[in-house]
Symmetry: C2
Subunit: 211 residues, 2 copies
């Protein structure tokens, strides 16, 4: 029996399948060989049915015995403590990994997600576009210089950065060969493929139950 | 002699004074009683003059002997390892602190900063407004229930959340008494006042040098 549980929604429409953020935690567990269970909260009243566990009504959150944690970035840092496969154990490697994990969230995703949201809201050309372009160009220079963000090896920072970058609107925006090669390389990992396939299967199985 | 160095700009215009993010690291050092030095990169060519240390051309970044780290959130987690004043040492307290620090960045600031950016770009009413309102209302419920985000005590998560929330446009947006009391309480701490005054003085001193 395993205590490590990843919580996600019981069902989502086809659009977000393959992109719901429980994938980040599934992927990390697969990389680390950590056994885990997936449990669900209901899609239909998701904004209010799990506020005790996630005050913003989002998924995923993680439980591990008595420990509970939400925010996918925090979940990844939590899992990284369990396995060197996700983060080096030396101070320099741990600091670099943490830094790039935060950069994925606060320097890249902070711009790409609101930009994507405006595009989905009908503003294909919006005032965040220049900011997104600047950030992706800056990151392209980094990725042209090396294969992995931190510590010359795959870390949980690559997992998160690749997950941020693989969003279709972001991936299709401009031509950045090093970034594209990076996303292709990181998402070619067996652990990503397993996590991705498992998420798709999870939501497809729920279609039948909804009738 | 101290090795811990917070890097910021040598000067900024009046507008951002008191809000440049080196304040987050100054504040954390003041809370923890950590000795530190402030060093600078030039404002005038800031987009390119320190890419070796901060690939997005931003400040702050932190050096500590041979260790370098950018991203204010990563800097805060780095400093939190040095002092229990910033983060509890038990696993549950550390996990809760990390979770709320990430929430400040990825659930609140990810919406408020692009929203503020659109407002500064002339779009006072923009399509991120509803999202900001939802997040702040969700957070208001949390802050109405307790004084501190994690572990029933001040942590670096409060430092960061209060810094995100004290941005004037955010603070003035709607009436949320628990959030306002929280921001007032956290920024009333002597360590915040010292860090804030030091940043203002730092940039004012540079006015003279620029002539």
């Amino acid at each position: 029996m395993t205590d490590l549980t990843i919580w996600t929604l019981d069902w989502v429409p086809e659009g977000p399948r393959g992109f719901v953020r429980d994938l980040r935690l599934r992927w990390a567990c697969e990389e680390a060989g950590l056994a885990y269970t997936v449990r669900t909260v209901a899609f239909d009243d998701r904004a209010t049915n799990h506020l005790d566990q996630q005050p913003f009504g989002q998924v995923p959150f993680l439980t591990d015995g008595a420990v509970e944690t939400f925010e996918s970035g925090a979940g990844l840092l939590y899992l990284a403590k369990k396995s060197e496969a996700l983060m080096p154990r030396d101070a320099a490697g741990e600091t670099a990994t943490t830094q790039w994990l935060l950069a994925a969230l606060n320097s890249i995703e902070m711009v790409t997600v609101p930009w994507w949201f405006l595009r989905m809201s009908g503003e294909k050309d919006n005032k965040l576009t220049g900011w997104v372009e600047m950030r992706l160009n800056q990151l392209e220079k980094e990725l042209a210089a090396r294969d992995w963000l931190a510590a010359d090896r795959f870390t949980v920072a690559d997992l998160l950065m690749a997950d941020v970058l693989r969003v279709p609107d972001v991936r299709a925006f401009g031509s950045r060969p090093a970034t594209e090669a990076y996303v292709a390389r990181v998402t070619d990992r067996p652990a990503f493929k397993k996590a991705h396939a498992d998420q798709i299967a999870h939501f497809e199985a729920a279609d039948a139950a909804r009738g």
